[in-house]
Symmetry: C2
């Protein structure tokens, strides 16, 4: 059933979320211990005391990463933190990861060891146990599948569907940096391809390169919220760009949102790279992927508890569903918030 017949449907026609919906919509939950199945950052299972959180992600060479410039140790680190980000987005504490790696015979043992060094570093930093590590042969290239487990008290889980009108919309850290890093790496790769004697000029970009190649998950934000006794009304991690995630929260919570462009948290280097590429920096923040920051909503009464936090920006508020998801631009115009998030299938086709 490969696509030799005209009547078959190209996967890219549905987009990533459309595809997942189409494939999984017929599955019915039959287990009363399934608190949350498909449809949030991670699944939640009632395993007795605390709830268990499970999430799984696959990263595929040439689609999610490019080993021309991604050091394998960083790659091992990143595939773990990307998964942890989903656990934190449920307000949970990650405890275990399971790694599955497929490699073609082009990779050496030493290459695999580098990946595992990165995985180990992430396990140490985030205090995780490696519960399983399977390595298999692949036909072409490298892929890494990570399953992360965590736990959370039943009354502390944050889903995507709890945002309420007038809640404040908050974002951790800054946005668009990972995308800025990707653009720099891609540019230097082209320069290198054109003239292999040219050394890539990367030294002025270390912050955004690290955002792309070795991102962290926001454990500190979850700890801070706990310390300050704040339970977000909704939370999601920002992996596909802010706009896409705001729309997810609004769709799941049946509400609207007003996001203020001037409030978007941008690092100076990210803005500089945007200018260098003649792109509006807000586009980086709204649609650049892989930031692994947290987007969450809080009740206004919690405002005082976080207003002094440099690592948390309030970028807007939740509105009635009828008002839609809006961006209030710096010039005061009101625009529809559009998700132009990264779509692996489409990306691939366009290349």
């Amino acid at each position: 059933m490969t696509k030799n017949k005209k009547t078959l449907t190209d996967i890219s026609e549905l987009g990533e979320f459309g595809l997942i919906d189409r494939l999984t919509s017929k599955f019915k939950s039959r287990n009363e211990k399934t608190i949350m199945g498909i449809g949030d950052d991670a699944a939640i299972i009632d395993t007795g005391g605390l709830y268990t959180i499970i999430t799984k992600d696959i990263f595929s060479e040439g689609v999610h990463f490019d080993i021309t410039y991604a050091p394998l140790k960083h790659l091992g680190y990143k595939v773990v933190t990307a998964n942890l980000s989903d656990i934190y987005a449920m307000n949970g504490t990650p405890t275990h990861i399971f790694a599955g790696i497929g490699v073609s015979s082009r990779y050496s043992l030493e290459a695999l060891e580098e990946i595992y060094k990165g995985i180990k570093l992430a396990c140490e930093k985030y205090e995780l146990d490696l519960g399983g590590g399977d390595t298999i042969a692949s036909k072409a290239g490298l892929f890494i599948s990570i399953t992360a487990l965590g736990s959370v008290a039943p009354d502390m889980v944050t889903y995507r569907n709890g945002a309420k009108e007038h809640d404040l919309i908050c974002v951790s850290g800054n946005l668009g940096g990972a995308y800025a890093g990707l653009l720099i790496l891609e540019r230097e790769k082209q320069v290198f391809k054109a003239n292999p004697d040219m050394q890539p000029s990367l030294k002025d970009y270390s912050y955004v390169l690290e955002r792309q190649l070795k991102p962290e998950a926001r454990k500190d934000i979850i700890e801070l919220l706990k310390e300050r006794n704040i339970k977000p009304s909704s939370m999601i991690d920002i992996s596909d760009g802010l706009a896409s995630e705001v729309i997810h929260i609004c769709k799941n919570s049946e509400c609207g949102a007003s996001v203020y462009e001037e409030k978007l948290p941008l690092d100076k280097m990210t803005a500089d790279v945007a200018h260098e590429f003649k792109i509006d920096p807000s586009t980086f923040a709204l649609n650049g992927g892989e930031d692994y920051e947290l987007l969450f909503t809080i009740n206004q009464k919690d405002y005082e508890k976080i207003k002094d936090q440099q690592e948390i920006s309030i970028i807007g508020h939740i509105t009635n569903k009828s008002e839609g998801t809006k961006l209030i631009t710096v010039s005061g115009n009101v625009a529809e918030l559009r998700a132009q998030g990264w779509d692996a299938f489409r990306e691939k086709k366009n290349k």
Copy 2:
């Protein structure tokens, strides 16, 4: 760090188990809730009431399956049952699966739907919830990563390391059928390649083909053991061939074993295929992979409880470590039991 330098190590030099050991041996468990990490069929985590069991497996096109003859629906079913087999091997009850699929643009939506139909069928038959289903683009071919979760009472877990001298060695069902099916499929594929007008002659082989293409996991055996109040002293699933699994049990339990060739459970069709290929049927049983039967050891006092069970064969007994792992042949000779299990990296290299 691909293999352009002589000093780098080819992955196939280590073998599958050597590779996993090498990559994961430096990871230390830091979480007291980790009851069993790497080193058994699945990991066990103390999540409060029951223990949670987690296992993860990846299947890669051209290495673990061949879509020339594996119907995609069956493939979806098989990747689930193969994982469930690991949960049953811990004496547990599977509850959830998470699927991650990587596909190249050569695959259509309809192809993915077929895979998911098989996954759904397995979920229905084994009463599982699908907790997550991620689909990503791959550079080449198809790979499927499945994570399965289950639960087990803390005092009922069966590890690989509990076998005791004089315990009886038991096997469920029959062995070698999946390998017989594979040989038939490979033969017919070659015939078809040589002459595409030839129709494959498969009709006389339905049982062994089903063993290869759509295996079941032995839920019934776990239920039976529970009903009869038997807790095996050790258990493992047979995915790499009986010899390999007996050696695993003996290594982990620090014991020896005597396995009687005449007791090996063989289906008639499996034996017929072995004769057709001029291979000793015992070789199929000892070294053919993918049977997904259960190998377990029980105390002799439990013998009466299972002696009437056609689906359980007693094939030998556990001995002192000093006696090694032995095969007592039909002719009465004593041979060393050798694992010639399937090794993806080696297989690939030899092709």
